[in-house]
């Protein structure tokens, strides 16, 4: 059930990096939310006998609240059932709950645990979901995120993204660390440490690799690194600058920006560094390519029209078509998982903010109220955008729901966070 195969090497990596990295995690602050939130009663899961109470319902509840679509119902004086047969629905209806989450933990031989949980519909008196997990002591958070994903999906009809991960770069003094963390900013693991900048990390479509740009070679070079064993290779280290990598949906090819032949131009290259092919031509600046989900279209930033704007072109070639028209600076496009909208950074009266662009209607909505936003990327379920911004002179990460109504800030005191990317 849990992605034990994927998690194991990551835990090893985390252990290795432990001596090097401050393990402090980011703090989360949630602002706003939808007008009609689903009311969920999250009963603390019963602990295994002799064991401390797990934080499962707390972590899952935090996930749900951060989405802006849920609110937790107070539990004062209510009974704490652990199985559906014990539930008195009238009590929970009386507390205004739409749904009820209950569960329990049992100790298994070998230091493992069984976690059972049930999601119940308080209005219809029915069970919406029931799952059992056999987990190790290192998988409490991962289990809680999976439970939150199931609750989110059953109650909203959209799959959850709480089990996904994010990558970002932390800067402390002159030290740079590329980190991978859970989507809530917890459980951070350092995958690259450098005395020079690292930018533009992107998860491969299957989440097993990161591509990024490192300046450790006294120029920008594109690396692909395995998250399983930490091994890495230079995929683009041509004469000039190598930057702005983007994975094709098949995970085999990358779009990169090179200057080996001329100004910054977009190329396709295999993930092992072979098979280089130039895509854009001309003396203009083309950068920040990103693939559409079907892999047929590239969106990118170009100054070919005299200002920084978003363009699209077929991966098979052809003439680029301009996509953004509002203002003189639109950069850093990200494509939604359904391919229907773009998030990018728009400059308006000196403010750099995240906007959402509906590709069918051309309608543009400003999602943030900060002034130094950068690097937007969509949640894997398309329901939120992760971005970097500056608050109080310090770089922080933020998420915002697509209606702009719910924002969460992820920050850690004393360090700059930047260049975030949301992965699978």
């Amino acid at each position: 059930m849990l992605r034990a195969v994927l998690l194991f090497p990551l835990l090893c990596l985390a252990l290795l990096c432990a001596p090097f990295s401050a393990r402090a995690a980011m703090e989360i602050q949630v602002i706003g939310g939808a007008a009609n939130k689903i009311a969920v009663a999250m009963v603390p899961f019963q602990a295994a006998s002799g064991q401390p109470a797990p934080a499962l319902s707390q972590i899952a509840g935090d996930d749900l609240e951060r989405s802006g679509r849920f609110r937790r119902v107070g539990l004062e004086g209510a009974p704490q059932p652990v199985a559906p047969a014990q539930v008195d629905y009238s009590v929970w209806r009386g507390k205004g709950a739409d749904a009820l989450v209950i569960g329990q933990v049992a100790a298994l031989p070998g230091g493992r645990f069984e976690v059972r949980f049930y999601l119940l519909d308080v209005i219809k008196h029915t069970q919406l979901a029931g799952y059992s997990y056999n987990i190790s002591a290192g998988q409490w958070r991962a289990t809680a995120h999976q439970i939150a994903d199931i609750i989110y999906e059953r109650l909203t009809g959209t799959r959850g993204a709480f089990s996904s991960r994010i990558a970002y770069v932390q800067k402390q003094g002159k030290r740079y660390e590329l980190k991978v963390a859970d989507a809530d900013g917890q459980n951070p693991r350092t995958v690259v440490r450098s005395g020079e900048s690292v930018i533009s990390p992107r998860f491969s479509p299957d989440g097993s690799r990161l591509v990024y740009v490192s300046f450790e070679d006294r120029k920008p070079v594109v690396y692909v690194q395995s998250l399983k064993d930490g091994s890495r290779r230079k995929v683009a280290a041509f004469k000039g600058s190598n930057s702005a990598p983007a994975w094709a949906p098949d995970g085999r090819r990358l779009a990169v920006v090179l200057t080996r032949d001329a100004a910054s131009q977009i190329y396709l290259i295999n993930a092992d560094g072979s098979g280089l092919a130039r895509l854009t031509r001309g003396g203009n600046l083309d950068t920040e390519p990103v693939f559409s989900p079907d892999g047929k279209t590239l969106y990118f930033t170009s100054d070919r029209g005299g200002s920084a704007q978003i363009y699209q072109m077929a991966v098979s070639g052809g003439e680029p078509r301009r996509v953004s028209f509002s203002g003189s600076y639109n950069v850093s496009p990200a494509v939604s998982p359904d391919g229907k909208s773009l998030a990018y950074i728009n400059r308006d009266e000196g403010r750099f903010r995240v906007v959402l662009h509906d590709l069918a209607t051309g309608q543009i909505r400003v999602l943030t109220d900060t002034a130094r936003d950068e690097s937007p990327s969509f949640a894997p379920n398309g329901q939120a955008v992760l971005y970097a911004t500056v608050l109080g002179g310090r770089g922080i990460l933020g998420t915002v729901s697509l209606d702009g109504q719910t924002r969460a800030r992820l920050s850690e005191s004393g360090v700059d966070a930047r260049e975030p990317a949301w992965g699978p």
């Binding site: 900048s197 395995s226 091994s231 600058s241 930057s243």
Partner: protein
């Protein structure tokens, strides 16, 4: 465990080693050995230990190197640009002519043109803007007869600001291209 451990350690070690050199790249600070970029401590430690009897040969960077002579236009290394401009201004012509002459005379010399940008906006877009500034200087040197094989134009974008302040003066200082020789 070992299978996992070594590649990570190697990656960390490699990045730690190579970044030591990167930090030393500031042009103005270079007074010692030309090999300092790869072995930072060597130049400093070799002087004054063995006494006067040891015969020394001048390394690039010693007083005889015209590139380090403050009176020579070769000691000038930065080309600044106006806001949103990628035109090399006339005032840099004597400096670039001097570098072109030096490169023509020393065909084994290599020069890296490091473009930079101010910090506003997208890092990747700024990387490309820095590249335009590096490219502008590369083209100016090419016109002056420097061969392509002797030059590499790269960009640091907004990643290595000379002035980290959040002011117009700092932005102007960071909109520039530095001329750095390969042996520096």
């Amino acid at each position: 465990m070992n299978k996992i451990f070594w590649p990570v350690l190697l990656a960390l070690t490699v990045s730690a080693c190579s970044t030591t050199g990167g930090k030393e790249a500031t042009v103005e600070d270079r007074t010692g050995s030309g090999t300092a970029a790869t072995t930072p401590a060597a130049g400093a430690e070799s002087t004054g230990v063995s006494g006067a009897g040891v015969a020394g040969s001048a390394l690039p960077g010693d007083a005889g190197d015209p590139r380090k002579d403050p009176a020579s236009p070769l000691s000038k290394r930065s080309v600044h640009f106006d806001f949103d401009s990628y035109v090399v201004k006339d005032e840099y012509r004597p400096m670039l002519e001097a570098h072109a002459g030096y490169l023509a005379a020393k065909r084994d010399a290599r020069v890296i043109l490091q473009g930079n940008a101010d910090e506003r906006g997208s890092r990747e877009y700024n990387l490309a803007l820095g590249q335009k500034r590096a490219e502008a200087v590369r083209k100016a040197l090419a016109v002056l007869g420097v061969s392509d094989a002797q030059m590499e134009a790269i960009s640091f974008g907004e990643e290595k600001p000379r002035n980290e302040a959040d002011t117009e003066e700092a932005y102007a200082e960071n909109r520039r291209t530095d001329v750095v020789y390969g042996d520096e």
